[in-house]
Amino acid sequence: MLIGIAIALGAIAGLLGGRTSQGPAARHGTILGWAVPALLGGIGALAAVLLLDGCAWLPDSEGTQTVLGTGIAMVAGWGLARIGAYLLGDRRDSPLGGDTYTATFRLGWWWPVLLLGPTLVILALFLYGPALETFALSTQLVRLGAPRSVPVCLSHVSELLTPSPARLVGLPLAAVALMALLRLWKTHTSPVGFVGQSARLVQPLGALALLTALYYVFAAGPAGYRSIYFNTVVISVGTVLLSMVLGLAIANLAFKKVRGITVYRTLLIWPYAISPPVAGILFAMILDPLAGVTAHVFDLFGLDFPNYRSDPTLARTAIVVSSTWKVLGFNILFYLAGLQTVRRDLLEAAAIDGATPWQRFRYMALPALGPITFFLLITNLTYVFFDIYGTIEYMTAGAPAGATSVSIYEIIRVGVGTGDLGRGAAQSVLLFVAVIALTVWQFRRSRSSVAYGGAA
């Protein structure tokens, strides 16, 4: 019964995913256009149910697990229908794939196999394999180094979340609805005038609502994920905001044409090459309560420098400062590249017309930097999600009382530190979902921009 509902919802998700302009609907008759995505959606959902062995839909299953399982089935249905739409549709228009229309070598089929083989084998073995393994591990009770495992269905994930199914479904839906409404309001008002201006001003509230909704979706308490989520959001937002604002300001300064500017630029960008652990060591020294320079300066003024490791806010601030320093060079580099695309002749014309420097910056340079800003937002977020591990390890090791333990740190603490591989993998799945969501958002926002820096 519950499984039937899940599969039906999967078919509906398939309809949403498969009915694009490029999909079967565009090519074939209407009935086929409806039937194929729905069928694919149903098959995808069924596959998800079979993979989970139906465990989430048993009569005595927890409500949250049923909700999670149904969500997974819907995503599987949506994804399969989406893939089907691409395969059946005209792919050459696709922004990502498509053939490059160059003259080609006409040699045996083994040539491409030979050239691509090593890359594909390594990606399959060490990225796709472990990715699937992560999902498999998250449904098992398994200890590091122990061969036996016990299936636990989705309980590793559900114990991180609120026990109330209504809240689990309702809060994110409400936030997404709010975001959609705000977006609708923005697109249907003109940018000039009071109404349009306020529509643009309140737009960020949607993202804020989503962040807040997720806070309440995660369970409180030591077993729940709420505090880890909170730490991750605070440290991410702090680092991203600080490093992007400073990066833009410094890039503006380094964009001037003065003598020796290339030397200045080198001196501004080089911390890019420093490792996150070394950044942690350097700032641990500067902020050391006994021997550090800040403590001495405080001393000179007769003030007492607190130990940042024992205060949650100070500890998070210290992490934010050192990771900001680490990513600043990267941001300066990209903003410099971005400023080069701002049209100088237009800026000069505006200056002649009497636009103030602030107006020229706000209304001409800043909009042109939009794509770069968005790209940096994503790369800085991936930095804070992963590379920050080394910084935290050397500065606070998660102290005080886990106040600086972010998602990646917690994954290692649980999965390796306590040896609970299954629970660690379940947290990895959460982070995985966040990364996929960010990447999809990035692709939709800017399909043409080149993903250059990432660590993959």
């Binding site: 890359t119 992560t134 001037k256 995985f432 990364v435």
Partner: protein
């Protein structure tokens, strides 16, 4: 003299572009230029401060550090002897070098070959295979690091260089960058290569690579810095301290002494940062131009 001539003949060059706020208000061009120099120098010093400070601490003994002495002490050589020889930093640096060079070279070779296949060959399922590579952009190793750990351990690679190198020599980023670069080269190149009867490898080595040095330089910087700075993976997979990479080995310095050993630790941190910074400095021209091209959309 030169500056003077430039200023009088091409005054617009030194006009503000309107991107700075404060300096624009000063009317005197020379004064404004000095202001910019001052501001830039100040920012450079602030940004460089952590490493300057670490270099200072590296020369001091604990008494000098606690006394907040501003001039360098004379403990640099004993500290160097301690970390480099007795604590084995030389060995850890060598391990990191082997790993970072192997990962960088492997990534560039494999990605060049893959880029060649994607642009200059026609084969069935190319789009699907390209998607297969591209999708890994949203699969950072760290997300699946626990499963990667079990996979690599099951292969019996625990505690080996192989574990540090092989999983990382394929890269969607580099494949994508080379593919874009090749696709933007003129089509006549491959046509004339075919008329001359060149094999794909001859085409790659004689024509494509000489035209790609900028991109290769940029990829070297990105990948060397990435590989050298790897921390979490070696921490998990390498148990034998003799094979550990330098980023993780710093930890043993932090905890080794009976006393807190600020000086040696700072020296080791500075030394561990020399290779990636050096690679960045040596290749900064192709690196920066590569980025400017990449971001110029």
């Amino acid at each position: 003299m030169t500056a003077n001539r430039t200023r009088t003949s091409q005054p617009r060059r030194h006009e503000p572009l309107g991107l700075a706020i404060a300096t624009d208000q000063m009317s005197h061009p020379r004064l404004r230029r000095w202001g910019i120099h001052l501001a830039l120098a100040l920012v450079c010093v602030v940004i460089g401060f952590p490493i300057i400070y670490a270099a200072l601490i590296a020369t001091q003994n604990n008494a000098e550090i606690f006394a907040f002495q501003l001039r360098p002490g004379d403990s640099l050589l004993p500290h160097f002897d301690l970390v480099w020889n007795r604590r084995g930093l030389a060995g850890f640096m060598w391990n990191s070098t082997v790993q970072a060079v192997a990962v960088t070279v492997g990534k560039i070779v494999l990605s060049l070959l893959a880029g060649l296949a994607f642009v200059y060959f026609r084969f069935r399922g190319k789009w699907l295979i390209f998607m297969f590579v591209l999708i890994t952009l949203m699969m950072p190793t760290e997300v699946m690091i626990l499963a990667l750990f079990t996979t690599v351990s099951d292969l019996g690679w625990g505690d080996t260089y192989t574990a540090l190198i092989v999983p990382f020599i394929a890269s969607a980023t580099a494949v994508f960058v080379f593919r874009q670069h090749f696709a933007n080269l003129p089509e006549s190149l491959v046509e004339s290569a075919q008329i001359d009867g060149a094999s794909p490898f001859q085409f790659l080595f004689r024509i494509l690579i000489p035209l790609s040095w900028n991109v290769i330089g940029a990829v070297i910087v990105i990948q060397f810095v990435y590989a050298w700075n790897m921390y979490l993976w070696p921490l998990l997979i390498i148990r034998d301290s003799d094979r550990q990479v330098v980023q993780v080995a710093l930890q043993s310095l932090q905890q080794a002494g009976e006393l807190t050993t600020y000086g040696p630790l700072m020296l080791a941190a500075v030394l561990a940062s020399v290779p990636p910074v050096l690679v960045f400095l040596l290749l900064q021209r192709p690196f920066m131009s590569g980025f400017a091209i990449g971001a110029d959309k």
